[in-house]
Symmetry: C2
Amino acid sequence: MSLTSFTSYEGRQLFKEALNAGMVENYFSLVGNFTTQTETSYCGLGSLAMVLNAMEVDPGQTWKGVWRWYSDEMLECCAPLDLVKEKGITLEQFVCLAKCHGLEARSQRFDHTTYDQFKADLYKTATEPGHHMVISFDRASLGQTGIGHFSPIGAYHAEKGLCLVLDVARFKYPSYWAPIEMIW
Amino acid sequence: MSLTSFTSYEGRQLFKEALNAGMVENYFSLVGNFTTQTETSYCGLGSLAMVLNAMEVDPGQTWKGVWRWYSDEMLECCAPLDLVKEKGITLEQFVCLAKCHGLEARSQRFDHTTYDQFKADLYKTATEPGHHMVISFDRASLGQTGIGHFSPIGAYHAEKGLCLVLDVARFKYPSYWAPIEMIW
């Protein structure tokens, strides 16, 4: 099993198939807010900023000028930003942060759920407006360099068992299709 | 004539049609590097950073950590950044900046070209790898608030005469399809 670049010929074909299968419901709003994590440890914050902007949540504060908009360094809640800059955030802190900003959020740990439930959650993410999935994973499990990482899922190709990872560390790994078994 | 949101039902349908017509050649690399201008006057810099990252140009300097990657505030050349922060850049400075970073670039002014040439350029942008178009326009001409603005074109729907504007001021105007006559 291996990853497929989103921009490759094969990656585009996969996208076309997923689009035609109606499995990209939240892709458009997410990709329109695709962002690079602004610090190397802000993968959790960058992923959440994407989801918040995709869902058009009002941050209740201005970003720059008169504009209300989320950028990752505005997400200080549940953990002090200094500490996040040093260590990143945990899955619990991610959920806490999402709730802090008005989202309904729940975490689903690998060892406390089933593969079928994971697939059902992916299906929901791919087909129901406003349902997003952010994965927290060990890069080694995808054959990548690095350690723990967060990124949102942009689409699901159920037939071929692949999902599109909109990786917020774009300077390192541009978007890719990953076998859901590897993600699992 | 009016604009159509990229995330609306109609906007998605237009994308599907453009995709199936093979008119989104440079969309995937561009959208994978979609960015928000980091200052309200950095629309030109943000647009160019997207194109440079989409074309995988090596900035020859690190962004953060060990990573070589473009963000808009790294684009200081042709005009001092302090001045850009205050006034933005001109079309000439945009072209100068693109050349500074190793791209072949040319500007095409509305009053020095023809509508047919504009459509031919759009077609090239939509079908040939590595050909990008960034438009410099008066927001009023699209019925938007604001003045001069830069943004890249992500796709072209030749049949319906529309192009996809990946607007870098995403906090203000998320991506939209615009009639090419209005853009022209």
